[in-house]
């Protein structure tokens, strides 16, 4: 098991989030690597919490610039593909909510919404998951 420094131990979870966003483990690896390269050279980022927030915000921004890649051969579970197919900002809100790194107001910042909108977004996203037919 590779040992990451404490301030970077969120990287495996960032990769999981990237998989949900891209729908592809390979694309997730590329996205996390590129984001890591970008964040590592940013000298304006101070403090571990700030770095983590910038990292996830960058993943959110960059992933949503690209098309969704989920393919049957991607090897992802149906539950993961369900999450992948959700629309934004509900998909990221729910995923970040479950990763547990950020309070609700910071998640709102990352997805570009106000904190007041968060409950409605969560309800709509959970409803979308409920209405998805299970295999």
């Amino acid at each position: 098991m590779t040992h990451l420094p404490k301030e970077w131990r969120f990287l495996p979870d960032a990769w999981s989030y990237a998989v949900i966003l891209t729908g592809s483990p390979q694309a997730a690896t590329d996205l996390v690597t590129n984001t890591l390269n970008g964040v590592a050279t940013r000298h304006d980022i101070l403090g571990n919490k700030h770095r983590r927030r910038v990292f996830f915000a960058t993943l959110f921004r960059d992933a949503n610039k690209s098309p969704r890649l989920a393919l049957p051969e991607s090897g992802l579970s149906e539950d993961t593909l369900e999450l992948h197919r959700l629309s934004e900002p509900g998909r990221s809100t729910l995923a970040l909510f479950h990763l547990g790194f950020f309070p609700i107001d910071e998640i709102a910042d990352i997805v570009g919404k106000s904190e007041k909108e968060m409950p409605d977004i969560l309800v709509a996203t959970r409803t979308a998951l409920t209405s998805t037919p299970r295999p």
């Binding site: 990451l4 990287l11 949900i20 998951l129």
Partner: protein, 249 residues
């Protein structure tokens, strides 16, 4: 807590058996327990959240990817000096504060009129016994007279040497000797004393400090080397300044 508020709280809550809910969430859960609608909504939410949580936590980063990321992290150079670093900002603020305090001590205090000189002026003006002896000589020629009386260092600024001193005395104020002469033609008294016992600093040396002592008297003080020279003049501060400016050259 009412039902809508409880609902909004529970929507933003993920049940975790290892974490005790906050008091607000506990209240919301009690409200939910008393409401069939909210209770069923919350149970449905819990089921969905279990699926989502299991799905996210079920994703495992491949070991080679983790190793690659670990290597990249290890190659990140340590952070260099950054002026926006909060620690640097704190140090900078502390340094500026220190500079301000030192500047105040070394420049600000000498810029004010020294309180020790005010006390001397007040003592001179209220001296009960007047041990003055008539001299009737120009102020600039009294150095030897004072030396003979036991006071060294009496010195009058050159422009004021010409004024005639009617009488002179050595006064004892707080065990320190103070040389005083009266100059009636200018309604003034010229005072000379050693600066060290009174810890009087004036910067730059030879410059005047002014003060309106009360409604009747104004003061001007300067320090040359170890000696202070003070003019106590009846009248306003403006008149005193004009008097000293007039004789400047």
């Amino acid at each position: 807590m009412n039902l809508p508020k409880a609902r909004r709280l529970l929507i933003c809550y993920i049940a975790d058996p290892n974490v005790t809910p906050s008091p607000a969430v506990q209240k919301a859960l009690k409200v939910a327990a008393d409401s069939d609608i909210l209770s069923s909504e919350y149970q449905a939410q819990v089921e969905i959240d279990k699926r989502v949580h299991a799905s996210i936590k079920g994703l495992r980063i491949p070991e080679d990817v983790l190793s690659s990321l670990g290597n990249r992290v290890a190659s990140i150079p340590p952070r260099r000096f950054n002026p926006r670093d909060p620690a640097m900002v704190a140090v900078l603020i502390g340094f500026l504060l220190l500079v301000t305090v030192l500047t105040w001590n070394f420049l600000g205090r000498p810029a004010a009129f020294p309180s020790a000189a005010i006390e001397i002026a007040e003592e001179v003006l209220t001296f009960d016994e007047r041990p003055f002896e008539p001299v009737n000589l120009p102020a600039g020629s009294l150095e030897d007279w004072f030396v003979l009386k036991g006071f060294d260092g009496f010195d009058v600024p050159t422009p004021l040497e010409k004024y005639n001193a009617e009488d002179a005395a050595i006064l004892k104020i707080d065990t320190q000797s103070v040389a005083a002469i009266t100059v009636p033609e200018q309604n003034s008294q010229f005072i000379s004393f050693n600066a060290h016992p009174h810890e009087i600093t004036i910067f730059p040396e030879g410059s005047w400090r002014y003060l309106q002592l009360d409604t009747e008297n104004a003061l001007a003080l300067r320090r040359d080397a170890d000696m202070c020279f003070m003019v106590i003049r009846q009248g306003s501060l403006a008149e005193l300044k004009r008097f000293l400016e007039k004789d400047k050259d």
